[in-house]
């Protein structure tokens, strides 16, 4: 439906204190609420009715979180920085050009003008059976993610399994941030805490983030890497609009090669290798590609068939590495 048919209240706190108050109020009244900045992930779900809330808490009033600064050799990105601003920011382009590129590869200019980096690392996992018209959801049995009792992707999945829901991870920016060892600051009712980005991501597609429902990400912090080159390669049938069918982030620092994958499974996969353990650089690339391919199970939940997406993992890793090596020459 092109209409958000359920009524909800809209609030825009201007400080974290106000935000905490609002959350507390919702919890006391047993109201469902959602945080949103750009709203590009939440609004479509409200439209299809796959997600229902009583209160829409806009984060856009927290203006302190909309900036990028350089401090003590660290880039600190406010979570409300839009993907457009991030892609064009002087500091990002200078120190983390691959991240600027990845941010630019998200969706379309209109969406990048609204969508934020905080939202992109939080973007909900997707599946063709849940991110779907209400009519279509009605004609299938409700799946686990819709509080039902089946997974249409892995029919044998049952409660108690490590992975109940195969909704896949689709952030374009997270893989590079993971390879950079990014830390995120999280604010909640009991003050703030800092965690590694990889601790944010959980194994199941239903609740795929470790963030508590009353917490928000405030900043993303990245140490400027030395002697490092990075690359992000995205598989999509078009050069715009799509979520990654596969995304491959590559980092080369000296003899270290690391790879992070997105678009395939419930959380991003990260793989590391060091050239010292191999006869030559090329063997390392082959080996890390094999590692990545072997550890990944793909499913039919995308435009591209599962086998193809798996086959593209080594191709994209090789391309990423080649592109970095070519630039270094």
């Amino acid at each position: 439906m092109s209409l958000v048919s359920e009524n909800f209240d809209f609030v825009r706190p201007t400080s974290l204190e106000q935000l905490n108050e609002l959350v507390k109020e919702c919890q006391e009244k047993n109201q469902k609420f959602a945080f949103a900045a750009g709203g590009t992930d939440v609004i479509p779900k409200l439209k299809t009715g796959s997600f229902k809330i009583n209160k829409f808490i806009s984060l856009n009033g927290l203006q302190d979180l909309n900036n990028v600064i350089l401090k003590d050799n660290k880039i600190i990105i406010g979570a409300l920085t839009t993907l457009c601003d991030l892609a064009n920011h002087g500091l990002i382009k200078k120190y983390l050009p691959a991240l600027a590129h990845a941010a630019h590869k998200v969706a379309s200019p209109q969406i990048r003008n609204r969508a934020t980096i905080g939202g992109n690392i939080m973007v909900d996992n997707r599946c063709v059976y849940i991110n779907q018209s209400s009519l279509n959801r009605e004609c299938h049995e409700p799946c686990y993610k819709a509080d039902g009792d089946v997974c249409h992707i892995v029919k044998s999945a049952k409660r108690g399994d490590e992975i109940l829901c195969q909704a896949r991870f689709v952030s374009d920016t997270a893989p590079l941030l993971l390879l950079l060892g990014a830390k995120i600051t999280i604010a909640g009712a009991n003050g703030s805490r800092k965690i590694n980005l990889d601790e944010l991501y959980l194994i199941d597609g239903i609740d795929s983030r470790s963030l508590k429902s009353n917490e928000v990400i405030t900043t993303i912090e990245v140490e400027i890497p030395e002697n490092t080159a990075m690359h992000y390669e995205k598989l999509a049938i078009r050069n715009a609009l799509d979520f990654p069918s596969l995304g491959v982030a590559i980092r080369i620092t000296g003899n270290d090669l690391s790879v992070a994958l997105t678009g395939l499974n419930t959380r991003p996969g990260v793989f590391r290798a060091n050239a010292d353990s191999y006869d030559n650089f090329d063997d390392m690339v082959t080996d890390i590609s094999a590692q990545a391919s072997d550890s990944v199970k793909t499913y039919s939940q995308d435009f591209f068939p599962r086998g193809y997406r798996k086959d593209m993992i080594p191709v994209f890793i090789r391309r990423g590495v080649d592109s970095i090596l070519k630039e270094q020459q």
Binding site: S5, V128, S133, L135, I237, R238, F243, G307
Partner: protein
């Protein structure tokens, strides 16, 4: 860029910005849903979540009791079914007892607000009994006790079967040096127009309704609505506001239009309804999913010796244009080359999926892909240049095809020659490095269906022109400008003939109360038919003005030559055309010894002139009102065998594409680098508009070639959004080169033919043939997804390893 030959015209052949384009760009143009009626009710439609089910019970009482709900309709409220073709009126406005596809309307609510209407939908209780559905053509052919349409009295789900055979197929294949055969499969695709369907209905206190609707065919909607609602046609006025794309997807009467009109009549209130994008996909009417096997015989000396095909097309739940599609899957292969021995067999099946219907290139696109790929294969096998071979096989002017189509003008040979020159075809084809390729394909299309859908002897198009006391020209036409620019084209005709600037021609179109009947914007008929009608109306008006000028100048009025058309050129109600009554004949010359320009009417011979306004005033003295009409009706065409009417057209367009691609052998991605197009649309009336159509067809063809595909799971539409149904973005559009290509069609208005549909089909096989040139694989399934490219490459490598 398209260029028109200089024939001394002032407005014809010149780039003219489309009327209304400024308003569209400025956001000022009113589309159907932008119209603000007084206090309208909003309609929402409850749709079936099941593809195949019986409705056991339907309880609307709670919905009706909801505050703000003014009415609920169900299938029981509509007695008559409808359909665009008189021979398959099989669709109910709302499902009765049975649902045949996911998304079929099962009830509708009219309420004071959209929110209330949506809430009311949730209160409607429907009990379904799920039944076994049919989801593919092959299954649909099998005998069953429970066909989708038992009223047809068939023991299976076959909707239409067509077999036509011409010549001697066995002999044809015997005469061939090479015979190639392949099975091809095509996904169903959607029109993906920008504006979703919308309708608003205004009712007056006498029970007359004005229906504003996003439709390509106001006239057919008018007729269908009168039948479904059981009220006289004169109580209904259909108006088409600005329209955001049709491509065939708005050329049927639709359930929501019937529902809206019924609510307005029942409740005495204005109403509005619009679709979400999901609903557009649920109602679909797109290109048929197709499974076809084609066999082509080719001789080095004679060209194509025989062509045969067996085709299944998956029609979905209802008929729509399907019977026409069934024929078009065969007959449109009768060009652009001579096919002496020809047989086709097409079955259209009913399945539990959204119905398929007409889409740009209607029925001709998929078989064209197959025939152009097979022709490329045949050329490769005998070692002949595929572009040169095509060039030599293109129909000659004034040919009769094997199935008795009268081909008149053909301008493609020059165009293809030029395209080969500009692309350096000879230097590139077969000579580019691995991964780079160049391919060619040609196409052929009708300039309007010669026969009307509803059989009658009336003109296919009529245009009325009036001139007011101030000299302003108003042109009335029932033709629907759906963004293709028909209003502009009609105005160009009148402006050229009447010697007026474009600004002085106001067009009122697609309003069944005020404009004369036009059959609508489908089958690429408007330029040829309404264009001729406009030209004829303008010629008659010119005669009135020139006669008035002669009176003022005290000169003898010009003697008009009688047209040379044979007496039976037009079938005028069985009577011979009456030349004395101003019958104009085909494409009449209007030279009369006068020049009308810059506000003057000047006799060339006597160097005397009066002003245009003086002549208007003088003419008004006689008539009180200046008004003429012009008509168009296709000449008598075609053979006398069964089905001879399918694909008959007064003229045909021809297209060639040369496409250059890069294929990535590691990922299977096809990048179309450049598309060079030669399209023979006769005289390009408005080069700007022809360019737009060519660029648009390339983009649309790219979509079907590379990514578009309706995905169904047991009849459920899996990708009803523009995120998951992939259409190309601007990034994918290749460099486009349009080479000059024209002919002078003896019957087209100012020599023009169609330029909207025929261009689409050949771009797709040209891409496939370029892929073959690049990496040596034959792709036989659309879309040509990267994974299919890789599979084909792997198979080819295996073959290579063996040999």
């Amino acid at each position: 860029m398209t260029e028109a030959p200089d024939k001394g015209y002032k407005i014809i052949g010149k780039p003219v910005p489309l009327i209304g384009s400024r308003a569209k760009v400025m956001g000022q143009a009113l589309y159907t849903d932008d119209i603000r009626l007084h206090n309208p009710l909003t309609i929402k439609i409850l749709r079936s979540p099941h593809a195949s089910a019986n409705i056991l019970s339907l309880d609307t009482s709670d919905a009706l009791a909801l505050n703000g709900v003014k009415g609920v309709l169900t299938g029981a409220d509509f007695k008559n079914t409808f359909g665009v073709l008189t021979i398959s009126k099989d669709e109910p406005a709302i499902a009765r007892d049975v649902v045949r596809y996911e998304g079929e309307p099962v009830a509708a609510v009219a309420a004071e607000t959209a929110e209330i209407a949506l809430r009311a939908l949730e209160l409607i209780k429907v009990t379904y009994e799920l039944t076994e559905g049919v989801f593919d053509s092959k299954t649909a052919l099998k005998p069953t006790d429970r066909p989708l349409h038992p009223e047809l009295g068939k023991g299976n789900n076959l909707h239409k079967n067509v077999v036509q055979e011409f010549g001697d197929m066995d002999q044809g294949f015997k005469d061939a040096d090479v015979v190639v055969k392949k099975r091809f499969r095509f996904a169903s695709i959607n029109h993906a127009f920008t504006e979703p369907h919308a309708t608003q209905v205004e009712i007056d206190n006498q029970g007359n309704i004005t229906v504003y609707s996003a439709t390509q065919v106001p006239h057919y909607l008018h007729m269908a609505m009168a039948e479904v609602l059981e009220i006289p046609e004169h109580n209904i006025r259909i108006v088409k506001p600005h329209l955001g794309g049709g491509f065939g997807g708005k050329s049927d009467p639709f359930p929501h239009e019937m529902i809206a009109a019924k609510f307005a009549l029942d409740l005495g209130r204005n109403v509005k309804v619009k679709f979400s994008r999901e609903e557009v996909f649920f109602s679909h009417h797109g290109r048929h999913q197709t499974d076809l096997t084609m066999k082509l015989g080719f001789s080095k000396d004679k060209g194509i010796t025989a062509l045969g095909l067996d085709t299944l097309i998956d029609g979905g739940a209802y008929g729509s244009f399907g019977i026409v599609t069934t024929y078009y899957n065969g007959v449109l292969l009768q060009g652009p080359y001579k096919v002496p021995n020809f047989r086709f067999h097409v079955d259209r099946l009913y399945t539990n999926k959204p119905m398929c219907g007409a889409m740009r290139g209607h029925g001709g696109v998929n078989p064209r892909f197959a025939s152009e790929v097979l022709l490329d294969m045949a050329c490769a096998e005998v070692g002949m240049d595929p572009a040169e071979t095509r060039l030599n096989m293109i129909h000659k002017e004034n040919t009769l095809t094997t199935n008795e189509y009268r081909v008149t003008s053909v301008g493609l040979r020059n165009g293809l020659t030029e395209a080969m020159k500009r692309t350096k075809w000879k230097e590139k084809h077969g000579k580019l490095p691995f991964g780079k390729g160049i391919g060619v394909a040609c196409g052929f299309f009708i300039s309007g269906s010669a026969l009307p859908i509803h059989w009658n002897k009336l003109p296919a198009s009529t245009v009325r022109i009036t001139i007011d006391y101030d000299g302003g020209v108003t042109l009335f036409s029932g033709a629907a400008d759906i963004g293709q620019g028909s209003d502009t084209m009609l105005a160009q005709m009148a402006a050229e003939v009447l010697g007026q600037p474009m600004e002085n021609i106001k067009v009122i179109s697609a309003d069944t109360r005020t404009t004369p009947v036009d059959l609508g914007s489908y089958s690429s008929r408007v330029t040829f038919m309404a264009g001729n009608a406009s030209r004829n109306a303008a010629i008659r008006m010119r005669r009135i003005l020139v006669e008035a000028a002669c009176e003022l100048l005290e000169m003898q009025p010009p003697k008009y030559e009688k047209p040379e058309a044979p007496d039976d050129f037009f079938r005028q109600g069985g009577r011979k055309p009456d030349f004395e009554k101003g019958f104009l004949g085909p494409n009449p010359d209007y030279s009369d010894g006068f020049i009308i320009e810059d506000g003057l009417i000047r006799s060339e011979k006597h160097n005397a002139s009066v002003t245009y306004l003086e002549a208007v005033e003088k003419a008004l003295e006689f008539e009180g009102i200046l008004q003429t009409s012009g008509t168009y009706k296709a000449p008598k065409l075609g053979g006398s065998f069964k089905g001879a009417g399918a694909g008959l057209s007064p003229s045909y367009s021809f297209t060639a594409f040369i496409v250059e691609v890069t294929v990535d052998p590691d990922t299977g991605f096809i990048k179309v680098d450049k598309a060079t197009c030669a399209h023979d649309c006769g005289m390009p009336l408005n080069p700007l508009s022809v360019n737009g159509q060519i660029e648009g067809c390339i983009h649309m063809g790219l979509g079907q070639a590379l990514m578009e595909e309706m995905v169904y799971e047991n009849g459920a539409t899996q990708n009803p959004s523009f995120l998951e149904y992939k259409i190309p973005s601007a990034f994918e559009q290749p460099e486009v080169d349009i080479v000059p290509c024209y002919s002078d069609d003896s019957e087209g208005p100012f020599g023009a033919k169609e330029a909207g549909e025929g261009i689409l089909a050949p771009i797709i096989p040209a891409i496939a043939n370029a892929v073959y040139d690049a990496v040596g694989i034959r792709l036989t399934q659309l879309p040509m997804r990267p994974d299919r490219v890789l599979s084909a490459l792997a198979k080819e490598n295996k073959k290579g390893a063996k040999s």
